[in-house]
């Protein structure tokens, strides 16, 4: 009781202040921060040989943060803000925290074998990954444009670093540089958009922006539309939507594979969190405009991603384009948020974005984990390195097939449920044509996903390869693969709890819309 009034008082006076409750509500973030700092410090003092153990510390940190998130979600669920509205603790932020933390754990599992083989420093990798995760968590939980900016920058700078971490590999440096140059450019555009929005509405707080738009009838204001467009471009860069994707293939191919896996999942989800927060929480009044833009971008993104992926000869690059295509599918769900009249339909649209992002984490990380497994033994990432994988590592081949079928969207995998849910939201909100484009794209995507499956199962393996490749132990990767595969099975067959969670996660945004528009 006193806690609640205290918070309300704090918001109403909007006096910059700081209390224990504020800290309590950012507990998961704090845990990750402490973990990251610990990793940095220990990395200095531990002997090189025992540095891989830092991975366990990282996992422990992420797991602890997950527990804290769960605790806050179940015992302190109603929306609460801290740090003068900069930070929002609601089920939406909790859902995205789960996504980020899970991808953090998975990436720690797949990193060591690859990095050790290539002499990439492990401790620093873990630390920078942790800071990146922290940035994403801040994005998901932000209630203010400034907080979104800070979070996105933290994530992005960490990603630039991670991309260039294979210091001896020119590809890595090239990818990193391209990513960095285009990235800061996109950030500048995004900030410019935020500035316009602030200039027109007089606030950087998301709820206040929405309120200001309705009160001052700013929905048709050209300056605000420009601000919205600029922000969409900025976020579009972060989620790798076409035509803002040009950095993606090079950065993804150049980066160390575990980093690619991480970047194709985490920052992308963070970008979507930011898009949802800004577009739905702050700019619902402009939904008619941005929904069409997102829909058009979704068509471009899906189609380009899938069509170009067909022509790729490197599995890594193929997965890079496939991740662009999946951005498109998720955008279909976001575009479906057109009908602002029915809370149910709004929830369908938002929760479809949430559930797809979650499922995508598992299927993409799973596929990348196996790619890393193969790369560790074969060196390259070309399609033919998967020749006869079913012969020398049948378990990995089966898991890869499972993840690829999921990416294609074949039941009973989680990927099917995700697509079903996204297309359902689109059809429900009058975007049947968009769902049809998505479906046609799914069929196109079957070409290149199946190609890997055929390679693994039907292509013969050369004799010297057969002698050389033994299914050696790699417990960590195997753990990651098992987690991903089982999660995909559960999400495919018994998705009820996850769907409920996603619907809960979507609720806070809807309530904000209702109060903001006075309904």
């Amino acid at each position: 009781m006193s806690l609640l009034t205290h918070t309300l008082l704090q918001i109403s006076t909007a006096k910059p202040s700081f209390s224990g409750d504020d800290l309590y509500r950012v507990l998961p973030e704090l845990i990750v921060l402490v973990m990251a700092v610990l990793v940095v410090i220990l990395d200095l003092f531990l002997p090189i040989r025992s540095r891989p153990a830092l991975g366990y510390l990282a996992i422990l940190g992420y797991a602890g943060a997950l527990v804290a998130t769960g605790f806050l979600f179940y015992y302190d669920n109603p929306t609460k803000t801290s740090f003068s509205g900069m930070f929002v603790r609601d089920s939406f932020s909790s859902f995205f925290e789960i996504i980020f933390l899970v991808s953090g754990i998975l990436v720690v599992l797949v990193t060591p074998s690859y990095s050790l083989k290539r002499g990439i420093p492990l401790g620093e990798t873990y630390a920078i990954q942790a800071f990146s995760v922290l940035g994403m968590m801040i994005v998901g939980a932000s209630g203010d444009l400034m907080a979104i900016f800070v979070g996105i920058e933290l994530t992005s700078i960490a990603s630039y670093l991670l991309t260039g971490f294979a210091r001896t590999d020119p590809g890595s440096a090239e990818g990193s540089l391209k990513y960095f140059l285009l990235g800061i450019f996109a950030t500048a555009i995004m900030v410019y958009g935020m500035a316009w929005t602030f200039g027109i509405t007089g606030s950087t707080n998301l709820a206040a922006i929405s309120q200001s738009i309705t009160q001052n009838n700013l929905a048709g204001d050209a300056g605000l539309t420009l601000g919205m467009l600029l922000m969409v471009v900025g976020f579009g860069f972060k989620i790798a939507a076409v035509p803002f994707h040009v950095w993606t293939p090079d950065a993804y191919e150049g980066a160390p594979t575990p980093v690619t896996a991480f970047m194709s999942v985490g920052p992308k989800a963070a970008g979507f969190a930011a898009l949802l927060r800004v577009l739905i929480q702050a700019l619902p009044a402009l939904a008619v405009q941005w929904s069409v833009i997102i829909a058009v971008l979704a068509v471009l993104t899906m189609t380009l991603g899938n069509v170009v992926a067909i022509a790729q000869n490197s599995v890594k690059r193929m997965l890079a384009y496939s991740s662009i295509a999946h951005t498109g599918y998720i955008m279909v769900g976001l575009a479906a948020y057109l009908n602002t009249n029915s809370p149910d339909k709004q929830n369908d649209a938002i929760s479809s974005v949430l559930i797809y992002s979650l499922i995508y984490v598992f299927m993409n990380m799973g596929a990348f984990a196996i790619l890393i497994y193969v790369q560790n033994r074969q060196g390259g990432a070309e399609v033919n390195t998967f020749n006869g994988l079913a012969q020398w590592a049948p378990g990995m081949a089966l898991a890869m097939a499972w993840c690829l079928l999921s990416l294609t969207g074949i039941p009973p995998t989680g990927g099917f449920l995700g697509k079903f849910y996204v297309f359902r939201a689109a059809i429900d909100n009058g975007y049947t044509w968009l769902a049809l484009v998505g479906v046609i794209n799914s069929a196109i995507s079957a070409f290149f996903y199946l190609r890997i499956i055929y390679t693994m199962y039907f292509n013969p393996i050369s004799d010297e390869d057969k002698a050389r490749l033994q299914p050696s132990k790699s417990t960590l990767i195997a753990t990651g693969v098992v987690i991903a595969s089982v999660a995909l099975l559960v999400l495919g067959i018994l998705p009820g709890p996850a769907l409920d969670l996603a619907r809960d996660g979507a609720d806070p945004l809807i309530q904000v819309v209702k109060t903001a528009t006075g309904r």
Binding site: G388, Q391, L405, I410, P411, P412, F416, F420, Y421, F423, R424, I427, D428, T432, A435, L436, V439, I440, S442, A443, A446, F447, L450, Y454, Y457, F458, P460, I461, D463, K466, L494, P495, G496, L499, D500, R503
Partner: protein, 621 residues
């Protein structure tokens, strides 16, 4: 019950997958036992099915994914119980047919086959769209794998084509399912994916006409690809030709029926107005399929391709029957209910009967083709003709094959006749010319089947002359399109040393495993005898003749090396033949299951609700 039937193959598959043995016979026995249990359950279901009761039986219902309204709902009506029964039988036969013919990666083979079984039982039992779609797609993967790993020379292409073709159709269906889900919501009152609830609601309040047409086309394209209806049939000959025998049997026997079943379960009852108005279009497509399939079958040099095209023709009859039924209901407004039912149920019952009979007869034909392929390693009709006189070497086999061929061309007394006759009657009511064209095609069927039979079984008299056979084989060798190249593929894993361009390397121990004589039976007419010393491995004990190995004139002329049906083959073919005759002589055995379903469907599809009550009464009688 139905769930048990659906998931027992899963248990079998898991057991086979984890068994710590390398002995392929263990896998075979586990698969056989699993399919036998499955068959027993389906038999029990069929026998205890109450044929007079409308609606679904053996229903199982549970909540599943509540946020989207998907439930776990299984149940069978007269149509699906027949399909499940057919499926149960065919899988036992499929395991028997693979007993000796599958020699490489036996464990994976039976796992894939059993997972296929799950999907196929599930498709016919599912009464929830979400569940249905899962099973529908589940069928796709193992079948593509069966074709892609254990198929003929061109298997990768065929598997790809099969997968992509059917995937496109199913995705369109997925969109239609979701759209239907939203359209039906105001009618049902809440969001549901339950097929029964949606069907009942749309029967009372028909859906918007435009939506009906669009959804009919979306569902229809998925099913038409599966049937396959002309012009969506092009995947079928490739898939059939490249698939292993058991794969072909299942493909023809039950997988094609998924498409017909889809039309019966969804298109007709859910979109009745669209079905009636588009009936003529579907009838025309079906007629084209019937004529086209038969004409193309006439010129096929490959036995399997011939049977595949005859399948296209037969499935055309099913669609013809179904839409003659729908067309009849369209013009029904002025007629009495009795006449309405009598008039139309024939076409419907005929269509389902053709589905059942086609499963038996074409399944039998494919098994038969598999038998001769095992011995000669070719399916090229001319090559066989010039090789030997099969009828005198394999009299039992020739007799049974004759039965299937006769049944397939529609000889009265065998299952094939009844269904086609009923469909023709229904078609005649629509338009005499339609029935004329369709019945004319039966003559073609007689020509291509008898011609094939004559050339295959009554070929060259006298001693085997390798020069003739080899000459023919060589003629085909360098033209990749001719089916003769099937011989040169790594077809049964025995010749990867010579032609293993796609084949997976395989340890010799597996190749010549104990008790599996057939793999050494290499009589590829275009392959040079690079392993001159045959491997006359002793047989598994059921048959003490050893098999031949090479195009060695002495052995072939000897006859003793060219055995008649072995035990698994006989066990597979003979019951099927008997069943085909029994059903042909006493068609009521099958038709009784369909009367109520047919009337129910008619009730759902007629427009006026006042008629509805009258027909319900009639059905009650």
């Amino acid at each position: 019950m139905l769930s048990a039937m659906t998931y027992i193959p899963l248990i079998g598959a898991v057991i086979i997958a984890v068994l710590p043995t390398k002995n392929p016979n263990v896998f075979r026995w586990v698969a056989l036992l699993t399919t036998l249990v499955n068959f027993g359950l389906s038999l029990y279901t069929t026998l205890s099915f109450n044929r007079g009761q409308p609606g679904y039986q053996f229903e199982e219902k549970a909540n599943w994914i509540q946020p989207i309204g998907a439930g776990y709902h299984m149940g069978v009506d007269g149509v699906s119980v027949l399909m499940v029964q057919l499926n149960g039988l065919l899988f036992v036969l499929a395991v028997l047919a693979s007993w000796f013919s599958i020699q490489k990666r036996v464990r994976e083979y039976f796992v894939a086959l059993l997972i296929l079984n799950i999907g196929l039982v599930g498709v016919f039992c599912a009464l929830d769209f979400f569940l249905f779609y899962i099973f529908w797609e589940l069928v796709l993967i193992p079948m593509a794998i069966l074709i892609g790993v254990w198929g003929g020379a061109n298997r990768i292409y065929a598997a790809y084509k099969f997968f992509l073709y059917t995937l496109v159709g199913s995705l369109l269906m997925l969109v239609a399912i979701i759209a239907l889900y939203f359209q039906a919501q105001p009618l049902v009152g809440h969001f549901t994916l339950d097929i029964v609830e949606i069907t009942n609601a749309t029967a009372a309040h028909p859906l918007n006409y435009t939506f009906q047409v669009l959804a009919f086309l979306a569902f229809g394209s998925a099913f038409a690809i599966k049937v396959p209806l002309w012009p969506f049939h092009t995947w079928l000959p490739d898939a059939h030709t490249e698939a292993p025998t058991a794969g072909s049997v299942i493909l023809a026997g039950t997988m094609l029926k998924m498409g017909c079943y889809g039309f019966i379960r969804f298109n007709l009852p859910l979109f009745p107005d669209a079905s009636k108005d588009l009936a003529l279009l579907m009838i025309v497509l079906a007629l084209i399929a019937i004529v086209y399939g038969a004409m193309v079958a006439l010129v096929q040099p490959d036995m399997k391709k011939l049977v595949a095209y005859s399948s296209v023709s037969h499935m055309g009859f099913v669609i013809l029957g179904l839409f003659a039924f729908a067309y009849g209901l369209g013009g029904s407004s002025g007629q009495t209910t009795d006449a309405l039912l009598l008039k139309n149920s024939q076409a419907f019952e005929g269509a389902v009967f053709v589905m059942f009979a086609h499963g038996l007869l074409t399944g039998g034909l494919f098994l038969g083709v598999g038998v001769i392929y095992e011995r000669l390693h070719t399916r090229d009709i001319k090559t066989i003709q010039n090789t030997t006189r099969v009828a005198s070497r394999m009299p039992v086999y020739a007799t049974i094959f004759m039965l299937f061929a006769m049944g397939s061309l529609g000889l009265p007394g065998i299952a094939g006749f009844v269904g086609e006759f009923l469909v023709m009657q229904g078609a005649f009511r629509v338009n005499g010319w339609i029935a004329f064209v369709a019945s004319f095609v039966i003559i073609f069927a007689a020509i291509y089947l008898l011609w094939m039979y004559q050339r295959v079984f009554f070929g060259k008299v006298g001693d085997y002359d390798p020069a003739v056979a080899l000459g023919h084989g060589a003629g085909h060798e360098h033209t990749p399109d001719t089916p003769a190249t099937n011989q040169s593929g790594p077809a049964r894993g025995a010749d990867n040393s010579a032609h293993g361009q796609h084949g997976l390397p395989m340890p010799d121990s597996e190749k010549y495993g104990s008790g599996t004589g057939l793999d050494t039976n290499r009589v590829g007419t275009d392959t040079l005898p690079e392993k001159g010393s045959g491997h006359a491995t002793p047989h598994a004990g059921h048959d003490n003749t050893a098999h031949g190995h090479h195009p060695d004139p002495d052995i072939l002329a000897n006859g003793a090396k060219f055995p008649d049906l072995n035990l698994p083959e006989g066990l597979a073919l003979i019951p099927m033949g008997i069943l085909a005759i029994v059903v042909g002589v006493v068609p009521a055995l099958v038709l009784d299951f369909l009367t109520v379903s047919g009337s129910n469907l008619a009730v759902t599809m007629v427009e006026h609700s006042d008629k509805l009550a009258a027909i319900v009464q009639l059905v009650g009688k």
